[in-house]
Each structure stands twice: as structure tokens, then as C-alpha cells.
Amino acid sequence: MDTVADKQEREGSLNGVGCSRKRKEDARFIQGKGNYTDDIKMPGMLFADMVRSPYAHARIISINTEKALALPGVHAVLTAADLKPLNLHWMPTLAGDVQAVLADEKVHFQYQEVALVVADDRYIAADAIDLVEVEYEELPVLVDPHKAMTAEAPILREDLVGKMEGAHSKREHDNHIFNWQAGEKDATDRVFDAAEVTVSQDMVYHRVHPCPLETCGCVASMDKINGKLTVYLTSQAPHVVRTVVSTLSGLPESSVRIVSPDIGGGFGNKVGIYPAYVASIVASIVLGVPVKWVEDRMENISTTAFARDYHMRGELAADSNGIIKGLRVNVLADHGAFDSCADPSKFPAGFMHICTGSYDIPVAHLNVDGVYTNKAPGGVSYRCSFRVTEAVYVIERTMDVLAQKLGIDKAEIRRRNFVKKEQFPYTTCLGFELDSGDYHTALEKVLDAVDYKGLRREQEEKRANGELMGIGLVTFTEVVGAGPSKSCDILGVGMFDSAEIRVHPTGSVMARMGTITQGQGHQTTYAQIIASELGITSDEIAIEEGDTDTSPYGLGTYGSRSTPVGGAATAVAARKIKAKAKKIAAHLLEVSEDDLEWEVDRFKVKGVPGQEKTMKDIAWAAYNNVPEGMEPGLEAVDYYDPPNFTFPFGAYLCVVDIDKDTGVTDIRRFYALDDCGTRINPMIIDGQIHGGLTEGYAVAMGQEMPYDEEGNLLGNTLMDYFLPTFVETPIWETDYTVTPSPHHPIGAKGVAESPHVGSIPTFTSAMVDAFAHLDVTHMDMPHNAYRVWKQIKALGLLDN
């Protein structure tokens, strides 16, 4: 007999959407049985290691591999000369540029790849590295992006001299990569000229690196007998890699298999194709045996995709009540020596044009110029959602500056300018259609939770006492779920994603997606989506990703796109199965489909208790008792081309206390409210938020990648590159509201990048707030004790 309790019990046993169920993937990780790239061993496998340039800018005069080749156990030493006949010494990047695979005639950044040694084991390979003799002739180095487009600047890309039509725009200088604009320049300028109040703030979003604990690596294995190339690879986008590898190698995609095994953290570090992957693949093809390459930590920090390095100016025009009339943002982007920025191809500055933030801004103009310098290539990585970290930083900082100028409280000025709940879906003046939001509720909830007024009173008292206490506030909107294929593509492949679901006769499920987890818990969360759609417990739903031989084509996992795009594909595919299941149920129950209603895990005949078929019953029938004219089986594929991005949002508040004597900052409190729409697994969401906030803390408070004038990268080990330990990491308080996405099949928006995007400006906001009574409007990151102390000293606070 059906009761409410019975229904609830069935719902509960599904462990579906909304349930903080334990993770299915934990079983192998908790027993040290994960299968990461460096765990993979194949018979006859050799080990590769890379010879790298010590100089940031130099000609290669000669490379002598004799001694290295003579070392017992060394099988090959590859240089550009070996790749030239295959036309593989250069390769196309994701950004329409080319990148050297092995340096051809010159090197452009310190640690650039020069030669690949291949040996019996990693010990011999390490010795062989030291035996490769490279003669260099140093060239003048360019590290300051502000000098890149001057007349005196050294020309870095000799291969591009004379080519003034760049991939994205005309190039105004040999070191210029692109100019990209959004919005209306003249209309914005007029608004600024006429405005009652304007503010302008220069700020640097410094270069940092995602530094996942697992470095990048691959095992390339060319099976000459079957003509098939298999590459195990730390990749957040295995299908894209397959397409590129096929193009580069001339092997058809049907002869190329890319497998992303378990990945020890991606954070955008593992999206691009790195030179060593290509060189290892060539080595395997030439030698006919598997070749493994795994980088060490210094190589990872020094050469793989860095993040940020945006030099920005944010300007707001407003009236005396703080109502914004216009926004102007100008950016100088340091891309390093090759533009390998991992953006959707039409967006060389990613989604920087989300810089209108959570605010109702009538007109705006964004201008971005990208330049080359003698640094490693990259720019988009580290939980940035394609430059959304930079966009949110510039708007939130400039809002604070405006508030400060007008003497309006930071929370109040935001309230006055928020896009209102009733205005959604809201099209920004720079072209994004925000799907849903309720910014006012989120803000008020946070302010109440922390007793904002009480904190401001406390700050007054502390200031009177000469103490430094700051309150930071950020109300961000970010854009994830790239994206509609009409605007979003990676190398021409539209940014849809996919799910293939198959229900077995005895009612359990196998599903594969085109995305690839790196710790986000897909094996669990996708199963939860399917469980709620199909009424089968997530315990019996197996999820696989990462093998291009078996999973449907997808664009991978980065920019929080798995839930918005992959999750949508999953729900839609499940609904196709449910539609077929309904027909089968109608057939089994001898009624018409209109007579059926779905409840948790079964179709019931309306008004006839007891007449029902569970999904398990239907699954069995699908293989032996389907209606006339229907094919057997119960499965579906969906390729989901999202109609729009999704726009998670949040309100973050941070309280800091700064030790005047040392510059050390204590993060006293950090309150993070996130709205990611429908919450699939609250436990996993909280975990993602803790992780994103911690990475944000690291960026804002300590990480940096300083280059000296010779282009030497300083601090590229974990001694200096700040990865917080248990001791430094603040306690995170999390909260949420739920404003579903109206266009997403289950209303979910994605969440994992929001805490990183939102927290970093919150820390800066708090630091600046600690000094705001002394007319400080901005402090560049990182806010380490040393830099903060210098600020304290400069303000004369130590003279007493």
C-alpha cells in the first residue's frame, strides 16, 4: 500500500539529487589504488625527460647529443631537427598561435623545452639530461609587458615578423598578440565625460600557477602492429586532445585513443597540450615502445599554463548617489612567449566581458591588448572560468573605490546597483544574458549572519585604538558552463557536451560522459542525476569518463562546465530513456501513455492503485517484451548544446586583523554564501567551496611568480611558491541560497570555480578596508606580510 512514508523511503533509497551521499570513487583512492598517469606501467616502457633552456631569450647555436646518446640505457635524444621532417617542431595552440614543441633555433622563455631524452628508466634519463650540451647566445630579455610595445623592445617572435594579421585582430607591434573589445567605446566615453563622479583604479592581477599536487605527464604507446596510438594523459579534455593529436600525427581519430586516468587535481593546469606530450608521442612512434614522461614540480610551475597576469584599469562613472552610469575597463594582458591561452577560440580575453558583474550598468567598454614577453605561455587556468577571476576582480575592486570616494558603505552601494530579481533574465550591456539571480537576498543573508553593523562598530573602536581591522565584501556573478556552440568552440569544435546512458536488463546502469573528473566527484554526482531521473538507486549506476574509445565526444572539464553542460546532457539522455520506458510501461500495463504518471521510481496508472511498473520491471521488459515496432534495449545518447551559459553568484565577507609590527594578517572570519542553483550533493559542494576558497586564499595572500630582469623565474619550488598548509588555512563558513537556472534541465549551475573567483577580491577588499581610513584605495596582491608591512611603514604607522 502506498503511503507518503513509503514514497519518501523509496526516494531516500535512490540517493539522488539533493542527497549528501558518500562518494563512489572513494573506494580506490582511500586504499591507494587510484590509477594516475605515473602509476601506469606497460611492458617495454621507456622513460623520457626534458632538457630545458636556462635562459629566457637566446639563440641556440648548437646542440650536441653525443655524450647523452653514449650513456648506457639511453635510446634516443630528440631535438627540433628530428621533428622538422614531420613538421612537428611547432604545433598550433588553442589560441590561434603556434608554439615550439622543441626549441627551433631560439628559446623564448626560461625552462623552454629543447631536447627530449628517452632512456630505460628515470634515473638514467636524469643523468642523460646533464650530458646534452647546448650552446646558447643570449639575447635581450623582455619581462615587463608595459614595455612590450615600445620601439626599444626586443622582438621576441621572429617567426611572426611581418605577419600583422593576428588570429584575433591586427597586430600593432611585433610583440602585440591581439586587441579585443566589447561594448560601446564612444557612448561610454560620453557618459564618463558627463558624469557627476568618476573613479579610476589601476590594479594588477598577478601571475600565479594552479599547482595541482599531481604534475603533468603522459604515457604514449604506439602499437605499430595494430596501427593504433594510445596515450594516457593528464588531460582535462581528452577528446580535444585526440582530435589535435590525430591532426598533428596524420593518424585518423579512429586510430588514436586518449585516456585520462585518475587525475590528481586539474584546476586548469591540464587543459592544454604541452610540448613534452607531443615529443613523447613522436618518440613512441619512432621507437615503437611505450614512452612515459612525467614532469617534476619545478617544471610544472615554470612551464605549464600559468594564470592571470592581467594589468587592469577599472573605471566607473556614477551619480552622487552611487548609481552607476558607465564602466570602462582597460587591460594589458601578458601572455608569455606563445599565445597558448586556453579560451574558446572567439574569445582571446575569455569571458572578461562579464566585468559588469552583478550590477545594472547601462553602458560599458572593455579593451584588452595581449602582448608577448619572455615568460612561459598560458594565461587561462586556475579555476578562472576563462578570465572571470579577472573580470570579477576589476568590478568588485572598482565598486569599493567608488564607495570609498562617495563615502557610501560597500554593501549599500551594491544594493543600489544590483540587477533586481524581477529583471532576470537580464542582458548585460556587454552581451551576456544572466539566467537568474537574487543578489539582494544573498547579500542580506550574509550581512545578517555576520552582524555586519556590529563588525563596523568594532572596526570604529579598533581604529580609534590604532589597530588594523578590515572587512571585505564581494557580491559576484560569474559565468560558467561554456557554452553555446554558436559562440563557443575549441579549435572549431562546438562546446556542447555529451552523455550516453545504458540501462541493463536487471536494472542497473552504465553511463559515460564527455567530461572528465579530477576530484570533483563526477562518479557520484552524475549517478545522482540519473538516479533522480530514472528511479534507480545511484548505488547501481556506474559512471565512466576519460577514455575516448568509449565515451561520447565532449569538451572536457574546466570552467565549471560539467554540471551545466554534461549534467544537462545526462538529464536529457535520461529523459529520452524515460520516454521510451513510459511506452514500454504502457505496453506492459495495457494502457495508453496518457493514463500513466511517474512517481519516484515507477509509472503508475492514474487512479488505479497497484497497477504500476518500476523502472527495474521496465528494464527487464526492454530486453524481451517491447511493443510492436519498437527496438529492444534501453539506452540513449544526448549531445547537449546549451542555450546559454549559467551564472552562479554569491556574497562573500571576510574579516581580517593585521599585526602592525610584522604585517602578518589573521583571517579572522570568512563567510561564503554561494548560489549554484539546484544542489546535487551538498557535501561535495561544500568540499569544492572549501577547496576553491583555500586556493583563493593562497593567490591573494601569498602566491607569486616573480621574474627578474633576466627572465629568471624566482621561487619555482614549493619552498617559495605558497601552498597553504593545515596551519595557515582559515576556517570557512559556508551558506547558500537556491536560485535555479531556468534553462538548465535540472536547474543546476555549477559551483567549483565560484569560491576562487569570489574569494580573491574579497581578501583584497578586506586588506584595503583595514587601511581605508587612511585613504588607501587599493593594494596589489599578494598580501604577504612583507608587502603589507611595507604599506604600514609607508603610511607612517610605525613611527610612534
Binding site: 558518500k22 562518494r23 582511500i30 586504499q31 591507494g32 606501467k41 614540480r297 576530484g519 577547496g691 593545515f726
Partner: protein, 158 residues
């Protein structure tokens, strides 16, 4: 230099390996002995993902020569679970969502194991300091602290 024969106990079983003096224990574990639970995350002894337990102490196996391990009692994550199931600490990590990508997890577990032997009833601050040799990028540590506390409680009740 010629290889040396080294014998030690790994998770209760005697192992015999032939290694150059310069061979690091982490490589012996992962390559010779196919115990790939312990991982490599850096080359400067900071990250702790290589942590194992040797003669009753937490040790970063990337900063130890295998020849120094002769006669030692080495425990790694592969020895934590038994035929009866997961170790209490492993279960606590699962229950409290103390892992995401799993890369730091074997080192965390081995350190948590020894830490709780050293300090069976730690408070949060002690856990933070006691585990400060193990880095994590995914979790922000908060749930790992919960996991260690839950493990401490469950171990005391066991």
C-alpha cells in the same frame, strides 16, 4: 656504484630489492614493488604525498635512500585495510569527505595513522600542527580535520 641488496618488511611481508645507493625509497616502492599508493608531488620534500610509516615514525619516502631502509618495518597505505574492511581512519575519511582527487590521500592517511598514535585525542589546533607536513589542494583541509577527529573518536571506542 654497484647495486646493493636491501631487505625490509613492507606491510608485514619481507621484501628484497636490488638498488643503487642513490635510489629513493619512493621509487623503490612505486617501481620495484608496484605499491603506487605513495605519490610524488615535489622534489623539495615539502608536499608530503610520499609519506609512509617507518619503524613507528612518519617519513617522507622521497627523502630517504632505500639502502637506509635495511631491516626496517615499513607501512604504506596498501597495508591499512584488512580482509575485514577499511581501517577506521580510512572509513572516517570517506564519511567526512576528506578527499577529492585522492592524490594526497595515501600520505594523509599514513600520517593520520601515526599522528593518532602519538596523540589519540587531539583538538583542531593539534591536528593542524600535527598534519602540517601534508599538503592538499582540493579540500581546504576542513573536512580532513573532521575526518581525523572522527577517526580519533572511533579508534578510542574500538
Amino acid at each position: 656504484m654497484a647495486k646493493q641488496a636491501v631487505s625490509f618488511t613492507l606491510n608485514g611481508k619481507t621484501v628484497d630489492v636490488l638498488v643503487e645507493p642513490r635510489e629513493l625509497l619512493i621509487h623503490t616502492l612505486r617501481e620495484n614493488l608496484n605499491q603506487t599508493g605513495a605519490h610524488i608531488g615535489c622534489e623539495t620534500s615539502h608536499c608530503g604525498v610520499c609519506t609512509v610509516d617507518i619503524d613507528g615514525e612518519s617519513v617522507k619516502s622521497c627523502t630517504l635512500l632505500t639502502v637506509q631502509t635495511a631491516g626496517s618495518d615499513v607501512k604504506s597505505v596498501e597495508g591499512m585495510a584488512t580482509a575485514d574492511g577499511l581501517h577506521v581512519i580510512q572509513q572516517a575519511f570517506v564519511d567526512e569527505h576528506g578527499l577529492q582527487c585522492g592524490f594526497c590521500t595515501p600520505g594523509m592517511l599514513m600520517r593520520a595513522y601515526r599522528f593518532l598514535q602519538e596523540n589519540p585525542d587531539p583538538n583542531d589546533e593539534e591536528i593542524r600542527w600535527g598534519m602540517s607536513g601534508n599538503l592538499c589542494r582540493c579540500t581546504g583541509y576542513q573536512n580532513i580535520i573532521k575526518a581525523v577527529k572522527t577517526a580519533a573518536k572511533n579508534l578510542q571506542q574500538a
